[in-house]
Each structure stands twice: as C-alpha cells, then as structure tokens.
Subunit: 160 residues, 2 copies
C-alpha cells in the first residue's frame, strides 16, 4: 500500500517524508518477509533495497545522504551481495517503453533524472566493492543472466 502511494504520484510528499515512507515500506518488507525467510534458512533475492533510496532520493533528488545512510544502518540488515545492472539511460528508457506498462511516478521523471540515478548507483557500487558488483547490462538477456549467475557463484563460494 505504501509503495503504491509512493509510485502513483497522486500525493505531493516533501522529500524527507518520501524518504521515510520508502524506509517504512522497506521495514515492513524486512520484518514480515525477509527476516522470517532468513531465519528459515532461505536465500532472499530482492530487486531493490536501501541502495535504491540512496540513488533515487539521495543522489537523483538531492536528499540528505547522511540521513539515508543512518536509516539504512537502522535496519540492521545488509545484503551479502548487491548486483547493479548498469545500462546507458537512453537504452534503459527504450526497454522501459518496449514493456508497454504505464510509467510510474519515477519513470515519468525523464532521462536527466535517470542519469543522476545511474550515477548514484555507480557511486554506491564503487564505494563498497566488497558488497557490490557492477554488471554491464547493454547485452542480450542471456548474457546478463550468465554474468549474474557467475557473480553469485563466485561471491557465495558455490561450485562452478
């Protein structure tokens, strides 16, 4: 429900509110889905986590990055491995349009916004190489999938 409110763009939140609502939605996800799964020994894969808030609200929207870092620390849950699929913004927008789904609030913000989001993710990955890996995504899906699988195998010590 919270993510629906955030993505619809119907309500004009201030940036600090928007940031806290993303963390509230994430806290619910952590407490109700992720922690129970981890406690049961399940591997958890998320398509977004706190880095997205840092990239979107911190880097692209100009929010308080120190506050976002503190909110991230407060969750006391850190991914073992973060894969950043990196792609030229124009190519990403073309893929988005090809999907045909209606654009959410962030997707409507255009290429300048996403150029800042991309730089944010690249900065986050560069600052934390032990956790993050940048994967070039300007390739066919199968090649990206291979790179992802190889990274998971290598970083988690699974046999090849």
């Amino acid at each position: 429900m919270l993510r629906g409110l955030l993505l619809s763009g119907e309500l004009d939140w201030s940036l600090p509110t928007e940031t806290l609502l993303h963390f509230a939605a994430r806290a619910e996800h952590v407490e109700r889905a992720i922690r129970p799964a981890l406690a049961a020994g399940t591997w958890v894969v998320c398509d977004r986590f706190a880095d997205s808030t840092m990239a979107y609200q911190g880097h692209a929207q100009g929010g308080d990055r120190a506050a976002i870092a503190s909110l991230t620390e407060m969750m006391r849950l850190r991914p073992d491995l973060t894969l950043v699929l990196d792609l030229d913004v124009a190519a990403a927008m073309a893929r988005l349009h090809a999907r045909g789904a209606p654009a959410d609030r962030y997707e409507r913000l255009g290429e300048g916004f996403f150029a800042r989001v991309r730089e944010g993710f690249r900065a986050i990955a560069a600052a934390d190489p032990a956790r993050c890996l940048l994967i070039p995504a300007d390739r066919p899906e199968a090649d990206v999938a291979d790179a992802v699988w190889q990274a998971v195998r290598t970083r988690s010590g699974l046999p090849a």
Copy 2:
C-alpha cells in the same frame, strides 16, 4: 492521512514500520507547516512532537530507542521548550472517557500501556531539563493553564 492510518488500528504494522510512519507524518508536518511558520517569525505550538514517539514506540512498546533518537536528530528541529503535563494514569483515563470521543488505537491499549508511556515522558523530561518541564496536571484546568503560561513566560524571557 498517515496519522489516520496509524491511529485507526486497521492495519497491523510491525513496530519499526509504525515508528517510521510516525516520523514520516511528522516530517510532512515539519516541512509543510512548521518550517514555513518559523521562517515567517511565527511561534509554533505543537501538542505532540518526537518525544511522543520516544515515549509510545520507544518506552511503552519497547522499540529501538537509539533509532528513535537518530530519527529525531535527522529532523534538525528541536523545540525550545517542551511542557510535559503529568497526570496519574487512572485520572487521565477518566478524563479521556469523560470526553466521550471514541478511543483511538493507542487509547484502547489500556492502563498498563499508559503507565509505561507516562514513565517514558518522565524519563525524557528528567534527561533533558534544559528543554523540558514537567507540569503537574492533577489540578483544575485554570491552574494548569497558569502553570503553562508562567513556564512559557519564564523560559522565553517575556515580561511577567
């Protein structure tokens, strides 16, 4: 809208989510109402602020007090004066019932809960005497109002 969701009790949030939603509602209030008023030179009076989250979610519900303190710091807005109207819980409940309004989610939690809320507010006030003043509220309304007005005059340096 956020406070309505929090007070209705319709949704069963986890405690970290509930805490973040209180700060989200407060952030919107700060950005849209309080900061513009302060910028215009207006004195701002709130009937609740971050101390309530510390007392309710921190002390009474057993949440992460260090996280609540960090969230409070992040607002970068600290009241000059906080008046804590202190009252025996049974007397407070009797006044609440005399109002006749339907109880909100917190008010339905009963006397044991409010005893912890009261201890929370007393601990907050004791730990920060330069900002907080405990005002005994087991007196007629006019006497409490006099004590409030005297405290505001003294702390703000207004003439008597």
